[in-house]
């Protein structure tokens, strides 16, 4: 029997995605986005969120799909927060915020359609590993790293 969870369903590049609301601190509108040369494709830039340097994630490359157009000031985004690390995940628009039945990798929305469920801790960890790969590191096997103690490596649907 599937669990019921509070999720936010959003659209990005013609596809729909869901994320558990507990990882979403707020829905924001992006400030001026500075591009970060040498950053991996999943990190589309940084912006100033009330004085904090906040990365903007592009969901595409982080789930093995094509990159979306570069984020711009005024674009909508989810502010994800995992273990004190935060990042903005760009979106086109929010569809709904609801309590929906959730399986490991998808939710069933109000109209009975399956929407893939993203896992913010894993997303942030992938972005981190991609950044470390730029430096030439292998992904750490054990970690003292900020986005740590989120074990397992479940694959996305």
């Amino acid at each position: 029997m599937p669990d019921l969870k509070n999720v936010i369903v959003f659209a990005l590049g013609g596809a729909r995605w869901a994320a558990e609301i507990r990882y979403v601190r707020e829905v924001i509108s992006l400030g001026f986005v500075t591009t970060v040369p040498t950053a991996p494709a999943g990190i589309a830039g940084v912006f100033n969120l009330r004085g904090a340097i906040t990365p903007v994630l592009d969901l595409g490359p982080l789930v093995g799909r094509a990159a979306h157009p570069a984020p711009r000031q005024g674009d909508g985004a989810l502010l994800l927060e995992v273990d004190g690390a935060s990042a903005a995940l760009r979106l086109d628009n929010v569809d709904e915020i609801a309590t929906l039945p959730v399986s490991t990798d998808a939710v069933r929305d109000g109209r009975g359609r399956m929407v893939p469920l993203i896992d913010p801790p894993q997303l942030l960890r992938r972005a981190l590993h991609a950044a470390q790969a730029v430096r030439g590191d292998e992904p750490p096997t054990e970690s003292r790293l900020p986005v740590a103690d989120l074990d397992g490596d479940p694959t996305l649907g």
Binding site: F32, P37, N48, G51, I53, P55, Q132, E138, T141, P146
Partner: protein, 751 residues
């Protein structure tokens, strides 16, 4: 003047600086007391105190031979005494005049090192004093000062006592006994020295980040070594299974020994790395402590800032012809000195707006049922790591409705947008550049003068400003700022339309670079060129045309380079912010800063630029264990010298030639190391503790594996005797100190 015998030039300069600080505090105290009296005369105690600090100042000035200052202090003291004895009646006007006089004395003190300016300020103050005497109807002139008696310098006097000031009218409570702070000794330090320490600590932070990256790399290396050892063990195992003849068995045995040695070393490396990780963690804490400690020493209470505002308000309201009272609260709220300095101008701007455009004329106020005298409140308090500064007036407020009309009338907004915007949005828009200009004369727009600049300053300090207003009742500006700011100097430049920064300490100069140049002549050598338009390109930016470009000359760890940029923006003070965990691993950046308009600007790490300019230099970069760089290695060298500086210098020179370099601080350590690892080259000093150079070479020659190792001697004792001995030991070359790169290269080339 003071005779040369009293102080030398340095001492005199230092004493004058101390005097300047002391004078500022003393004059501040006099001003505060004069202002707090308002129209009512200051108490006798307060006057006595004003005279006392003035008198002390006179004594200090006399010690330093500052004759003008002695005279001015004397005259001021006399004027104050006349108020005390009732010869001069206190009025608000007299209060203003005294404040003006004290301001003049301050200007004189500040101009101390420019005699002409100082003298003209002194004359100005004398004129003011005479006018004061005239206004009292008392024409008796202040008597000239008696010859100053060199008093004991009282340089530690005049420190304001800390007083609780919850919503007191004006910031400084008129109390007696200013100088003592619980009888604890106080140390007076120039602010610049603390600032210099602060900026070194800022550097330390960058260094720490680099070390942490290195340690992470070492961990990976240790893990890889473990894997290699495991692979070797498996190979040896297979060899054993397949061993048929005696030679193979012997080979297997030897390999097993190598594997065992490797196992020990891998474990050691892992342990050392783990320990290093703990130590960098400890370092992180220590640096944090130092920074917090330094920040505390730079902390100021809002008292001085408020006193400055009170003075400004005085001047502004006098010229605007409006009566306004300043009420302060949170006088003891502490924040960083730099923050207080940077905050002064925006606050004065807000104050000016409040007085000129906010507070109504007395008649209007009475008609509205308000007290005739307007009130501006300024409050400061802490909220976690933030300091909250609030400035509010009880004037006519800002009407969002009128503002909407105005935005539409000036074509700034469409009618539809004005309709849709919330009142908060409308008020927020007042901070936008060009909402109004000085040309706009009406009260509403006048409110906007300089507000975009105010917001910019606050943003640069990492804070934000908000505005609330209720029409007819008043306006409140609320600023939230970090308590302290890690301000540092940086060179800003543009590449592909984006602004980047480099820490100023590593920037030597700016220059220009020809389109096809790979090196640029530096002061001492050819500097490699790093083309930032390539390094910082992203897929969306058009390919850079080869052309002559501006260049920024950078040095780091003794290496120089030139990086090309599109345009040099210039040096700026920036507030360094961490990049956050996701971006921190990117080697190119050391942090980020936020521009006045709120954009993120990336700070490049000079260490990363050096790595780009000197690829494959082991001293600068550990070869990446996962992707060994295809560098041409000259071999492995051991540098032996008891001087760390020489070791570093030789390491740098050899690294540049492609050598992997290890170091030892004496011959004994070198012998140990040479037993563990095969070296292609040993560069050694002669005189060292424990085991000297010749003894080291002797030991190397005794051992079969090291007998043929190439040896170069670097010594300050290049005697014929030593040269002969070196030749007998088969040393390749003996180089006399001081060592240069050219000499070393010649020695290496020698046969």
């Amino acid at each position: 003047m003071v005779s040369d015998a009293d102080f030398d030039a340095d001492e005199l300069a230092m004493l004058r600086q101390l005097f300047r600080d002391e004078a500022h505090e003393a004059l501040e105290a006099v001003t505060a007391r004069a202002l707090s009296a308002g129209a009512g005369a200051p108490s006798a105690d307060s006057l006595t105190e004003m005279m006392r600090v003035t008198h002390t100042l006179k004594g200090s000035a006399g010690t330093l031979g500052l004759d003008d200052m002695v005279d001015l202090a004397h005259r001021l003291e006399t004027a104050l005494d006349q108020v005390r004895t009732g010869q001069l009646a206190w009025t608000a006007r007299v209060g203003d005049q005294i404040v003006e006089i004290v301001d003049g004395v301050r200007a004189h003190v500040d101009a101390m090192n420019e005699p002409i300016a100082a003298a003209s300020f002194a004359d100005h103050v004398r004129a003011l004093l005479e006018r004061l005497a005239e206004s009292s109807g008392d024409r008796t002139r202040a008597t000239p000062a008696p010859a100053p008696r060199p008093a004991r310098p009282t340089l530690s006097d005049g420190v304001p006592r800390v007083v609780d000031g919850a919503d007191t009218t004006l910031s400084i409570t008129p109390s007696t006994d200013l100088p003592a702070v619980d009888g604890r000794p106080l140390l007076r330090v120039e602010a610049e020295r603390i600032d210099a320490l602060m900026s070194s600590t800022g550097e330390l932070l960058f260094d720490r980040t680099r070390i942490e990256r290195r340690v992470q790399l070492l961990r990976t290396l240790a893990r890889d070594l473990g894997r290699t050892r495991q692979a070797l063990r498996e190979e040896v195992g297979q060899l054993r299974a397949a061993a048929t003849d005696a030679a193979r068995v012997a080979l297997e045995e030897r390999l097993r020994q190598v594997e065992a040695g490797l196992a020990g070393q891998a474990t050691q490396l892992a342990q050392t790395t783990a320990a290093l990780l703990d130590e960098t963690e400890a370092l992180r804490h220590t640096i944090g402590d130092i920074q917090r400690g330094l920040l505390r020493t730079r902390m100021q209470t809002s008292r001085a800032l408020f006193a400055h505002l009170a003075r400004s308000l005085r001047a502004i309201s006098r010229s605007a012809g409006v009566r306004v009272e300043l009420r302060t609260s949170g006088d003891d709220t502490e924040f960083d000195k730099a923050l207080a300095e940077q905050l002064t101008d925006p606050l004065v701007q807000l104050l000016r707006n409040a007085v000129v455009h906010g507070i109504e004329t007395p008649d209007e106020r009475i008609a509205r049922g308000k007290p005739q005298v307007g009130t501006v409140r300024v409050a400061a308090r802490h909220d976690g790591n933030l300091v909250l500064v609030e400035l509010s007036d009880d004037g006519n407020g800002i009407d969002p409705r009128k503002l909407r009309e105005r935005f539409v009338a000036t074509g700034r907004w469409t009618a539809a947008r004005a309709e849709l915007a919330s009142d908060d949005d409308v008020l927020a828009a007042i901070f936008e550049p060009g909402v109004s200009s000085r040309d706009d004369a009406d009260e509403l727009s006048g409110r906007g003068i300089g507000l975009d600049l105010v917001r910019e300053t606050i943003a640069r300090l990492g804070g934000e400003i908000r505005l609330t207003s209720s029409p007819g009742r008043g306006t409140t500006f609320t600023m939230r700022l970090p308590v302290s700011t890690a301000v540092t100097q940086a060179m800003l430049f543009k590449v592909h339309g984006q602004v980047y920064a480099l820490p100023q300490v590593h920037v030597v100069e700016t220059t220009s670079v020809e389109a096809d140049a790979t090196t640029v002549a530096g002061r001492h050598e050819q500097l490699p060129v790093v083309r930032l338009e390539q390094v910082l390109s992203d897929p969306t930016s058009p390919p850079a045309e080869p052309q002559r470009r501006a260049g920024v000359v950078v040095t780091y760890a003794g290496k120089g380079l030139v990086c090309t940029v599109d345009k040099v923006v210039g040096p700026r003070e920036i507030v360094v912010r961490p990049l956050g965990p996701l971006l921190a691993p990117l080697p190119l950046y050391a942090g980020a800063t936020i521009s006045g308009s709120g954009k993120v600007q990336l700070i490049l790490d000079p260490a990363a630029l050096v790595r780009l300019a000197y690829p494959g230099s082991p001293m600068i970069d550990l070869p990446s264990p996962s992707a060994p760089s295809p560098q041409t290695l000259a071999g492995r060298a051991l540098v032996v010298d008891d001087s760390r500086a020489i070791r570093e210098a030789l390491t740098a020179m050899l690294s540049r030639e492609g050598w992997i370099v290890d170091v030892a601080e004496d011959g004994a350590r070198a012998v140990q190391m040479a037993q563990q690892l095969r070296y292609d080259l040993v560069v050694t000093d002669l005189e060292m503790p424990r085991l000297g150079g010749f003894e080291l070479i002797g030991r190397l020659r005794e051992n079969r594996t090291t007998a043929a190792t190439a040896v170069v001697i670097v010594t300050s004792r290049a005697s014929p005797e030593n040269r002969r001995r070196a030749r007998d030991l088969g040393v390749r070359a003996l180089v006399a100190k001081p060592i240069t790169r050219r000499k070393l290269l010649e020695a290496l080339a020698a046969r």
